[in-house]
Amino acid sequence: MKRGKAARRLMWAAIGAVVLLGTTHSAMAEICLSPYVKQRTGQEKYLYVWSVDADAKDNDFMAVIDVNMTSPTYGKILTTIDVGSKGNEPHHMGLTDDRTRIWAGTLFSNTIFIFDVASDPARPKIVKVLDDLGKLTGMMGPHTHYALPGRMLISFLSKADGGLPGGMAEFTNDGQLIRTIQHPDSAPYAYDLAIKPGLNLMVTSSFTAYRNYSKPLSQWNMKDGGNTLLVWDFKERKLLQTLQTGPVPLEVRWSLKPKAAYGFTNVALDDSLWMFKRTNGKFVATKAADLGKGCLPADLRQSPDDKYLYVSCFLKNEIQVWDVSKPEKIRLHDTVVPGVQPNMMHVTSDGKRMYISNSLLSTMDQADRFWVRLAHIGPDGRVKMDPFFNVSFMDFPSGPARAHDMLLY
């Protein structure tokens, strides 16, 4: 009996030590990727940038930037991978759970390009093109590419004809359709999705449909957009609740604390951050902070310690850092100006660096120069731009390109 007790004590001590030490370890998959994506270890080597030919007269491409600090070509574009067609509007992308492939979607041509990044990370190769998504899924505008074990879950902004409702489609990692899930007619807009596996919950957000975002910004119907967050039973893929927010909630970020049932979203046309939180078994959404008039919060990222949120104010040319360590009372912690119209951000798994690009949509961009820049994040959560890392996207043989989503290898 004594032996059994001693064994149990030792076991719990062991588990305790693992957890205690584990919580101080930072080598996890980058924040804001699907939690199912395999961790990467060590400092990043390559930054993949999903790029739109600026005038849509030449082919779109994936750019590979050397981000290995010890490399003689650090901060340079190593290569571009031509997708073989133009006018696609490359937008977001995602890694498969095993980090061997990138699924890269386009908003105009309704196509997903699957890149093999494992065989030669410096030279990704297109291994499959899903160019019949309308026929296959009945939907249009693949947006968030979210890894599940052995599969990808993709949100779609529109029905195949460019209208509503949007929804989601699930594929095997090699591109075979498994099933589709339509958004309800009562909340038909789609955009981002984020899963909290431990809670068996998924939250989706709402933007606008192809019929709107494909037009120049001046012609957009600002009322043709969503103002809902949908809470789903993930395992059942069943809608549980519809939450009202301000107009056009975009990115969905769950708190990184394992059991915490709350998160944030950036509400684009309300210039605000909203919090969704479970209270007494039901979720509610409330405004958490005003970001200042004219911000147009386009992207939202997290620090790995769950302490800060980074918001790109596309129209105010700044990135705001919000301290969310007291989630009910968040406060502005820092502001940095990376250049004109910052949009996408990609925070490294150690939380020390943030890559930034400055294209949102070809129909919305006002900047005349496109780039990828780097910010360093201090232990105090303050952000400083790196004065030396500045990758111009103006000088390709095909001319300027809009740098959009980014992923690391």
Binding site: A14, M28, T41, D98, T172, P197, G198, E236
Partner: protein, 230 residues
Amino acid sequence: MNSQNFLRISASRERIPLGVLGVALLLLCTSFTTIRAAWADALPQKSPPFESDGAALSRTPSLPVIRVAPDFILLNTVNQPVHLSDLRGQVVLISFIYTSCTSACPLLTARMSALWGRLKRDGAAARQVRFLSITVDPARDSAAALERYVKRFKADPARWSFLREERQKLQPVLAAYDEWTRPQPDGEIDHPARLYLIDRRGRLREIYSISFFDERQAFLDIQALLHQSP
């Protein structure tokens, strides 16, 4: 993964009565990175070790047909062929492991063991379920090495088979399940730590990540598949 921090635990038979302690110590000596990911949402509070806690469960899971499970014939620890298609009529759970693994595999096998315990308590379910653990390291995992692993985890050989085959014959099976292996300088093998749930008609219905594997949910998934007509 820093293997220099790893200590390999002897799986001697004398120590097996303290199997739980052995696995716990193994965890302590294992990559904190892997363990953190694996345990972040499943750390037991009051329940026994290796049993998940805290996650919300679904009693009516949606388990679409992902694809037909790729068929294979592999050898068990007594060199008898096991043909996946011969297991039609049973629900099958497949894992890919290797026995000298010090990170995800022992955790994964321990979680399967906990699931097996639940199935056994259920009685009827256990009789209609088979577990298959396939080594991705046939060079080091001889039949004898796998047999030692079976005993270490007290697997019921009638219901839980540990399978191997020479590299050339194994490779197509790994590829068919989208599994790959990358040998590491420290002797570890990097590979996706997934589990595959196959229904009684030989169709892949769920893929689990060890990082978020909850044997209570897997139990409910298996029950759901058993309630469907074969």
